[in-house]
Symmetry: C2
């Protein structure tokens, strides 16, 4: 097999078939994918969730993950945030001519591992190759389908005054890991992306209470943007407390050095939940039993006042209004 990706690997002809048969199929194989038809077929009675994300993260390998793991975890998480159990993913790659096949294989292996850990199958796929200079190495799209158990109705529009806001752990890890890798910064504590699939954590939360109102993973735009989305979609106010929000020491140091606020920095293995006040403590207790929820905490609450507005009580005392991210903190974070 040629060592670098050629344009002909995207031709739909012989080399395309070689690539599928030598790299993708052996690693990701399952009966549905192996049919190699134009689409995959499955049975899934009931309510389904459907999501899509393209991944353009740069660099494609970073501490704690790579673009393949990120693509699986990100799409698994988008399904989980609707309370769906992820079932199937699609995988579509846009590859720059000249990309090393060994690197592609490394990424497909990482996709395989992440899919196995989350318990999902890749059942359909596509590969395109563009000329050198017309894309940056590799972009991946994963779309996903999950099944929503009956009785679950989670939406950013479901927050109600009095609800509690739960955060599953430290914020800013993914964004600062990418940024430090890209800028060549070194810290005493090496920064590592939190990239992880949260479907099992969500399943455990739903065991405690199926009545979770909102659930979202604060990726691009960070915690601040996710809370603003909830406040707008639900037409409620949200008040959070800065000193309840866990931030890893290295992330805090990196943010201070670079003049960034961690509440705007992307996460890839965290979630924010809005739940009824009576459910909050027991949900947090359950979350702490999962490795992805060990630092879970109630960080604030939903108010009837100031619909659409998010306010943070700062450590120093006064409150400040927290807006969505404006401008671009860090391009190609995911």
């Amino acid at each position: 097999m040629n060592e670098a990706i050629l344009l002909a690997h995207g031709s739909g002809g012989k080399l395309s078939h070689d690539l599928v048969e030598k790299i993708f199929l052996p690693l990701l194989t399952n009966p549905m994918l192996a049919r190699l038809d134009d689409s995959a077929v499955f049975e899934a009675p009931g309510r389904l969730a459907f999501t899509t994300d393209s991944y353009v993260v740069q660099p494609i390998f970073f501490p704690g993950g790579d673009i393949g793991k990120l693509a699986v975890c990100g799409t698994v998480n988008d399904l989980s945030m609707n309370g769906a159990s992820p079932l199937y993913l699609s995988l579509s790659a846009i590859i720059e001519e000249g990309f090393l096949i060994a690197e592609l294989e490394r990424i497909v292996r990482s996709i395989k591992a992440a899919a196995e850990e989350a318990g999902v199958s890749i059942i359909t796929g596509d590969t395109k190759v563009v000329n050198k200079g017309q894309a940056d190495k590799l972009f991946i799209n994963t779309s996903g389908i999950g099944i929503i158990p009956s009785g679950i109705d989670i939406s950013g529009a479901n927050a109600r005054a009095g609800d509690k806001v739960i955060l599953s752990g430290t914020i800013g890890d993914h964004g600062m890991a990418i940024m430090s890798q890209r800028e060549g910064l070194r810290f005493e504590t090496p920064l590592k992306s939190d990239c992880a699939s949260l479907n099992k954590l969500v399943a455990q939360m739903l065991e405690v209470s199926p009545d979770i109102h909102c659930l979202r993973d604060p990726t691009r735009g960070g915690l601040a943007t996710t809370l603003n989305e909830f406040a707008r979609q639900s037409r409620v106010g949200i008040v959070i407390e800065e000193d309840k929000i866990p931030v890893a020491e290295g992330v805090r140091a990196a943010c201070e050095l670079l003049g960034l606020d961690p509440i705007y920095v992307a996460n890839e293995g965290k979630l924010v939940a809005v739940v009824a006040p009576g459910d909050a403590a027991k949900i947090v207790a359950k979350m702490k039993q999962n490795k992805h929820g060990r630092k879970a905490a109630i960080i604030g609450e939903v108010t009837a006042e100031h619909p659409g507005r998010v306010t943070m009580k700062t450590k120093l005392g006064p409150s400040r209004v927290i807006d969505m991210l404006s401008g671009e903190l860090l391009p190609r974070i995911c």
Copy 2:
């Protein structure tokens, strides 16, 4: 709204929300999309089909279509080729910084029109922006979900000796339209892509006989590659007759000029079907009633001899073995 796409349009923050609210939502709106949650929710009991494709066609506007129409039709067709009625699409855009918002809107309008014509809804989406020079204008991924009526079992692996091979119309139109546009070639008859959704044509074929064995749209790699895929998947031989294959006059002239064989050139609004011999004539008759099947014809048959091999009886008499496309005829054709 700023006139060009900025990196901040991909930040997940304010400008990302603006883009969704001002461009995508007004044009593509439906209750499922409008929820703006991480994934869309739908009910679809029964057997479903799932497919994905990324589109990197260059130029993004071409005679007969654009990257948006192509993305909708291509994914609708991939579902249709499993006999599925397309229901829902996802839409994910990777946009180069500096791309004109007016052009993006034009493409989203085209997506809207193509989705309406095919009767599908876009129910979930994603937008990423990469720095100038890190992608070429716009790449689009559409994934799709369709429902397969009971009793339908279509697969490239279902061809049987004695079956007839049906082609829905002229070949090479899409590929030669793109190539002539790119190379600035002009012909007496202007070349136009055949880009179209074939779901209604397929539904009409299935009305005549639900027992269609194989169905595929010969996109990248052209008719020759699709037939080779059937021959390999079904472990059968296929014999076609060159003079039964319709080729538009302009496409034939362009192919001769450029030294190309139309059987390797991409199509975006054609299908190849393999059906039981007793069904072939009535299916072709029905296809001719649809504007996308007016030139439908039986072009060959399936044999037990030479499994995996495709042979063409040429106009001049002798037969030749038709292999898959090897090498790349035309990068970024779809």
